[in-house]
Amino acid sequence: MENENFEQRTDLSKLSAAVDQIKNTLARIIVGQQESIDLLIAGILADGHILIEGVPGVAKTLTAKLLSKAIDAQYSRIQFTPDLMPSDILGTSVFNPKSTEFKFKRGPIFGNIILIDEINRAPAKTQSALFEVMEERQITIDGQTYKMQEPFTVLATQNPVEQEGTYRLPEAQLDRFLFKIEIKYPSLAEEITILTQQHQQKTTDQLSDISPVLSADDIIALRQQVRTLHVEAKLLEFAAKIIYETRNHKSLFLGGSPRASLALINAAKALAAIRGRDFVTPDDIIYIAAPVLRHRIMLTPDKEMEGVSPDDVVAQIIQKIEVPR
């Protein structure tokens, strides 16, 4: 979105090209889901972890896998099961009889892009293993701290909690996810396109054709660029008001944390960059508010029973606040 009267302060051409390439790569296999793809890219650029929720069969894992493939970085996949132990994720100390010493064997969490499939199939004990690594990008085992390599991003998929065999994720863990992206069923036209594409496909291995678009270093550089984008003071107030209101809303049992405020601004910056601007507008904040807040806020039991969704409450809150202009 260029303006002939003003020259951009930040060169976003590389970022725009990378975003277009990722979108094109994903669009070759994924039908529709434009909003989800935008949010996934924004999440990667904002240096956040992303939770993807949807009923079985809506290509949650495929989308996450494709995004991982588009980035040339160490990819690791962990399938969460009810009997998974924290040491299965983080790693464990193994005794070496030759050296008569314990040696730390790194778990699958050591990587750049971590795909956790069906994250809510594991109980709270296993989930707590992710607390430190998701927030501090490090793990501490046997008094030893191990730093994660940059970039470090967790892409997790889950079924809605109403589904059989799932657990509700701890609030502390949910707060560590930048976004919760809800993947809906495709429209009829999209469903027909999916079937047509599948029918015409010669090979079943769709992922082998995907080549990386960005390297780990590119991701680090783009994230640095996104961090420097401009946010006007009134927009910071606007974001703070939205989060503040969640703490006083009568339909909510738990409001957004200060981490949510930071997430809202960081995500809005990433979205502005994707949209080709080096500054944030109220539209960016409003667009990003529901994905940032829907998993962090908790409805009161009566509102939950009435069928009110967190997105409805976020919309109500935004309606009450004047857009800075």
């Binding site: 006007e232 927009l235 004047e322 800075p324």
Partner: protein
């Protein structure tokens, strides 16, 4: 032949044993009963007629008068009320001490509830919401920021813009030009002004494609200057100001 003989022998033996029991029973000796006659004299006692008369005058014995009187509505109400509990088999007249206390408490609770209902209905009819007295007041957030809540219809745009230009505050001047533009669109019923609407929402509200495109350009200028805080000097302001004037003329 043998079983028949055995049966005959058993029958003969059993008859003999029965006869032996009858014969061995000893004979019972009975003594004649003698009837005694009570010959004592009975002293008949008569009630004192004067005392009896005195008793009949006491109020406790005026059963006839009581029966003639109709019970009061209060008594009838409680009679009806206790009748409701008949299936529970509470003996109201002879209850245990604990039950007696319980029944009294219950009775006064019902009375209190009745009074409260009447009181509430009176207040309701008078339009006073007394329930709010007992409710916890909602904790209103003491927002640490100043609410803008600007109404574009209350601003004198021309004088405010002039003032901003005189002070070389072109950023503020562009903001005022944009707000004036929104006001004119609202006055022309092309958009519906609301505090929660973003600039994009207003762009999408415009049905005329030419106007929409023009307004989109103006919005872009405003967003770069206001949200992007891009520095603006007099020549650029003049250029942008002309654009706003042209747009305002097109919707006037």
């Amino acid at each position: 032949m043998m079983p028949r003989l055995l049966c005959i022998i058993l029958f003969v033996l059993s008859v003999h044993s029965v006869q032996a029991i009858v014969v061995d029973k000893p004979a019972k000796h009975t003594t004649p009963l003698i009837l005694k006659t009570d010959s004592s004299t009975v002293a008949v006692r008569y009630l004192d007629s004067t005392s009896l008369k005195a008793y009949t005058t006491l109020p406790e014995f005026q059963y006839k008068d009581d029966l003639q009187k109709d019970p009061s509505w209060w008594t009838r109400f409680w009679a009806w009320f206790w009748n409701l509990f008949k299936p529970i088999k509470i003996n109201k007249h002879d209850p245990s001490p604990f039950l007696k206390i319980l029944l009294n408490v219950f009775k006064y609770l019902i009375i209190a509830l009745g009074i409260a209902t009447v009181f509430f209905m009176v207040l309701k009819l008078a339009g006073i919401n007394m329930l709010n007295i007992f409710r916890r007041k909602p904790t209103l957030a003491g927002l640490p920021f100043t609410e803008l809540l600007e109404d574009i219809h209350d601003i004198d745009f021309d004088s405010e813009t002039e003032k901003a230009i005189t002070q070389h505050n072109y950023r503020l001047a562009v903001r005022l030009l944009y707000l004036k533009c929104l006001k004119q669109l609202s006055d022309a019923d092309l958009i519906k002004w609301q505090i929660d609407k973003t600039n994009n929402a207003y762009i999408n509200e415009l049905t005329d494609s030419e106007k929409r495109q023009f307004f989109k350009t103006l919005t872009l200028q405003f967003e770069y200057i206001w949200y992007g805080e891009f520095p603006i000097d007099a020549p650029v302001f003049k250029k942008i100001s002309t654009l706003f004037q042209d747009f305002n003329k097109s919707i006037a």
